[in-house]
Symmetry: C2
Subunit: 360 residues, 2 copies
DNA sequence: TTGTAAGCGTTATCAA
DNA sequence: TTGATAACGCTTACAA
């Protein structure tokens, strides 16, 4: 035993060797005590425990992880923490992961695929045990490549990718949009606009499908000029701009579906600026319930679903995957949506040249 | 060299040894290449780099951290991610830490001191390089004990503790509340209520001080019945309840300062339920700007400050501390507040028995 | 029941 | 310029 080894560990944090020395046992015994492995005399155990508290020693997780090739850390990559949608998801994921003894390490991509690649690789280097991910562009080849090289399971939230991953958790946007659109059509609206982001992902596609299906169910051909989807992110400014464009149409819509958490703000501002009254001049349905939707007057009808639940389910799926040794079939969890009817929708006003609803 | 060592590393991730073997060099050389240490032949370097990409090898951060006794991870403990205040702070901290090559590992305390202790110790075991913390109870002895045992620098946000820490970052609640209160007094209000949480922390104390000082400046004695502070957390329900109690007073206030991010919702609901009009029957100022405050009608005057900036400054302070080898003096950064005047305040209505403002 | 020692994947020191 | 090897703090066979 070298001099360095036996000398007192000065300043820096104590190690298992310091504890062993103080307790007069070997490092193996100390380890057996902390890991609560059997075959250790009560007397020895108590001596070791005393030494542990005396030195305030806790095993270094870094060293443990190093040996056990698992870090009990889960990465979470999202685009923007300031979007309450993501903070709720993280909260959901964190609440179940913490209970299972995992910790969450977060990273914002700011909608940048390069940053997403960097983060995926970084989590790999950190030996993350898994990753929860809301990819920005479902088809970006670089990100997909990093993903398929990753040696940890990945669960997508609200996204679908072509590479093999552990699974995905999504809200039922198809059904939600179908119901919302049908509700407006049933009120007698015939010109219903759709504003949504997610042009290049699952969410946007499913919303569009629901919108179209509802029209088809009523035998109505939707006007393409009323469908305003965003290639990029759908923020408040996008919502406002699209409303202005819709107002300017020679046959403007009588109702609008503004599907996206951040659109409401822009939509409301635009309506007020143009002196358009809700619901008299324009019916409005938005998505993702919020204080604003609930308390603005008139209160806004929303397609509601729980981002918290999305996060929980993603974490559960990941834990399940981590606990599964053999075969694993990529799975999908669908979280329901619900139409919360408030006061922002009404029957359309009679317009010159409009002949009234056909079906009631 | 043992058989295990020389055999091909099957399945699991490659190590520096695999790269060395493939490139026909020693592990030392591989390390020199990745760390871009000089004294390595261009030829050797390229051979090593080829092997690195061939095996898709990246150094294990776990192993690096193990040697260098630093993890380049910063912990962030807050009470509730769903509070947009915290998500903005985290976003701020994350944005500066990422740029500096650090990653953020998050933990919610859910207002539980025990959980806070657990997290502080956990971050210690993970060898976190530092911690950003919004402690729930500034005086909880257990948490303070964990904190003083921690062997990493700690920066508090919006809190002040008696134990030695690297520093704190706070918003100027005293000044903000002083201005807001003065604004109401100047409008002629003489019965201004104060609803705020943070009874047991810095924030609540400073708000109360600002409120009292503004009254003193005007030579007015505030009615203790109008001061409603919360021992515990101030959520929407608390805001609503306090409003009801205020309405029930035989001399109700004509204005209310609802200082706390989540109070607005409860306050608005209570006003509507009691048919109290803002600002005609009641002037209202709240704190922390939000979509709701901006877009509800009438738009609400707020004491605004940037939680994002709080997070940024905390991260900067921590980085500064980490880069400082010798002496360090605990420091404080104060982020300014600003009164954003909107439409929720008006001169008080003449009431029977009220003799008008004394000072204008 | 307890001790010894190898090994986890790096980096850094020393020798060649 | 490169290679061999100890060390980081822990766990776990295996030996005693």
């Amino acid at each position: 035993m070298s001099v360095t080894r036996s000398s007192i560990n000065k300043g820096s944090r104590p190690t298992v060797r310091d504890v062993a020395r103080l307790a007069g046992v070997s490092v193996g015994t100390v380890s057996r005590v902390v890991n609560e492995v059997n075959n250790v005399t009560p007397l020895t155990r108590s001596r070791v425990k005393e030494a542990m508290v005396a030195l305030n020693w806790k095993p270094s997780m870094l060293a443990q992880n190093m040996r056990e090739k698992t870090s009990r850390m889960i990465g979470f990559v999202f685009s923007d923490l300031d979007n309450p949608l993501f903070s709720s998801m993280i909260k959901g994921a964190e609440s179940v992961l913490t209970r299972a003894g995992y910790q969450l390490i977060v990273g914002s991509s700011n909608e940048s695929p390069q940053q997403e690649c960097r983060l995926v690789e970084l989590f790999g280097q950190r030996q993350a045990d898994g990753l929860i991910f809301t990819i920005t562009d479902e088809t970006n080849p670089d990100v997909l490549a990093s993903l398929s090289l990753a040696n940890f399971p990945v669960v997508m939230i609200e996204r679908d990718v072509s590479v093999q991953i552990a699974g995905k958790v999504v809200a039922d946007h198809y059904e939600g949009t179908l119901q919302a659109t049908r509700y407006l059509l049933d009120l007698g609206h015939r010109r219903v606009a759709l504003i949504t982001g997610g042009h290049s992902n699952f969410v946007g596609r499913d919303r569009l499908l629901g919108y179209l299906q509802a029209h088809r169910d009523c035998g109505i051909e939707p006007d393409p000029a009323l469908i305003r989807t965003s290639e990029r992110v759908a923020d408040a400014a996008f919502g406002g701009r699209q409303m202005q464009l819709l107002f300017a149409l020679n046959s403007a819509p009588t109702a609008v579906l503004a599907l996206g958490r951040r659109l409401l703000r822009g939509v409301l501002s635009a309506c007020r600026a143009a002196d358009i009254r809700i619901p008299q001049d324009m019916s409005l349905i938005t998505t993702n319930d919020s204080e604003l939707a609930e308390l603005v007057q008139p209160a806004v009808t929303v397609v509601r679903y729980s981002a918290f639940e999305l996060g929980c389910e993603a974490a559960h799926m990941l834990l399940h995957r981590l606990g599964t040794v053999g075969e694993w079939n990529a799975s999908t969890i669908v979280v329901p949506t619900e139409l919360v009817v408030r006061e922002s929708c009404a029957r359309p006003q009679q317009e010159p040249g409009w002949t009234g609803p056909h079906d009631d």
